[in-house]
Amino acid sequence: MTTRARSLLRETTLTIGAGLGLLCLLLAVVAPLFGIRLLVFESGSMAPTVEAGGLALSRTVPADELAVGDIVSVSPGSRQRITHRIVGIDRAGGQALLTLRGDANQAPDPDPYPVTEADRVLLHVNHLGFVADAVASPYALLLTGALVVGVLLLAFRTRGPREGAGRHRGAVAAVAVVVALVGAGAAVPSRVTATEAAFTDSAAVSASVATTTVPVPATFTCGGLGLFSVTFNWAPVPGAFDYTLHYGAGGSQTVTVSGTSRSIVAVISGGTAWVVANKRFPLGGSTTWSSAASNTRSYTVAVVSICS
């Protein structure tokens, strides 16, 4: 390698290292000030908008700035952080009750989330979550540590053979390695944890329940006519316990009949008549259900009775 090329490599490495380092410093200092968070999507209930492994940048905003359609991240109590889309908002004072639903879910999350602020997703990129996850691993940290050590050596090493130079270089390297190890130690307990874009599923099972109908007596006819009497006959209803015959003016009088025929004997009178079947059931005890009314007949009882 020529001296020129080596110098170019040194300059490039130093500049890139410094640039990334500055960016990291800014991120570390500025992000908490503005409520900026990085969200790693652990599952895919926001697909196809954000798939599992997506990375999102969010900012904490007060509840009154939230709107339906926003993707927000909430951390309800002791439960896993959820990042879903707002499908409904109920506001009360500075609080909002958010109904959230994952784009891949058909149903909203079961319980609404009461919030005073939420992390609104500003932008999201698929797959970058895997990178963030990898970057936060202790291996990546060791690698970065090694890189930083290299950069430090590059900048601080003294040129040319000089007494003590090797020891000096060794000291810088030792300091850098210690820094890297300490950093790794700090990072190991705080590995990346992720937001859960929880899946939901719903299933509805329906069943119809219909109750029985007591059949109406199929026929209701006029039987023999007598002096001050008229007879009514009707078709039996299977399983009927008894029948109720309605007669008189507008069917206002009733009589319970166990058979399927009944004569009305009266002084001069008339009216309308019909019958209903009453049924009891094997498991229903004395519960009685009655049928609808049969067809009706008009009648008059007198010296010459009439029925039609």
Partner: protein
């Protein structure tokens, strides 16, 4: 005033840049905290799973409603011509066809209150988990009797179901991937059901909702 030589300046600039690159270390450790936005599960290498969640239902095996959502009519719980005192039991199985464990609960409602009367109850529902389903009698004789033998009771025990949702379990229950839970569902028309409940139809709907 002493001006630094160009060589000196370049070397100093190099050292400043090298020190700035230390920020990388800070940044990396910050990902751990900046991206640590959950309070519970600590996820280790390769935590991102595109798992699926699929709650299924069925009679004796959970083969219905594969995939998201949907509704299914239970064939054995389509009860025709129920007479006072009759009851019918039917199996209902809930399964997890997804790749991750889920928790679920269900509510039951009726489409109308035609068979609901607090004073003279009509339709009552009992759901027993893990019970044996039994049925005797026939519809034509109005003497059907359904039974759920054994098992563990749920919140739905002799429940006068109506248009207000009633929960199946007091809280959500868990179901591992590929696991199932079976229920015996007993629908009964009370012996004292009043005549006003004759020729009425209501639809029972169990709404299951599952979460990861």
């Amino acid at each position: 005033m002493r001006r630094p030589s160009p060589t000196h300046r370049r070397r100093r600039s190099g050292r400043i840049r090298a020190l700035l690159s230390l920020g990388l270390l800070l940044g990396i450790t910050q990902v751990g905290t900046l991206a640590s936005w959950t309070d519970s599960a600590t996820v280790q290498g390769g935590p991102i799973s595109s798992g699926t969640l699929d709650l299924r239902v069925g009679t004796t095996s959970a083969t219905e409603l594969i995939g998201q959502g949907g509704s299914w009519t239970h064939p054995a719980l389509t009860l025709l011509a129920m007479a006072p005192g009759e009851s019918v039991a039917a199996p209902l199985t809930v399964g997890n066809g997804g790749s991750v464990a889920l928790t679920y609960n269900a509510t039951v409602v009726t489409s109308n209150n035609d068979l609901y009367n607090l004073a003279t109850p009509g339709l009552q529902l009992t759901v027993v988990e893990g019970a044996t389903v039994g049925n005797t009698g026939i519809q034509a004789n109005n003497n059907r009797i359904g039974t759920c033998t054994g098992g563990t009771g749920t919140s739905l025990t002799n429940k006068d179901v109506n248009m207000t949702a009633s929960a199946l379990h007091p809280g959500a229950v868990s179901l591992a991937s590929s696991a199932t839970r079976s229920y015996c569902v007993l629908a009964k028309l009370m012996p004292t059901s009043p005549n006003s409940m004759q020729t009425k139809t209501t639809t029972l709907t169990f709404s299951f909702s599952a979460q990861q």
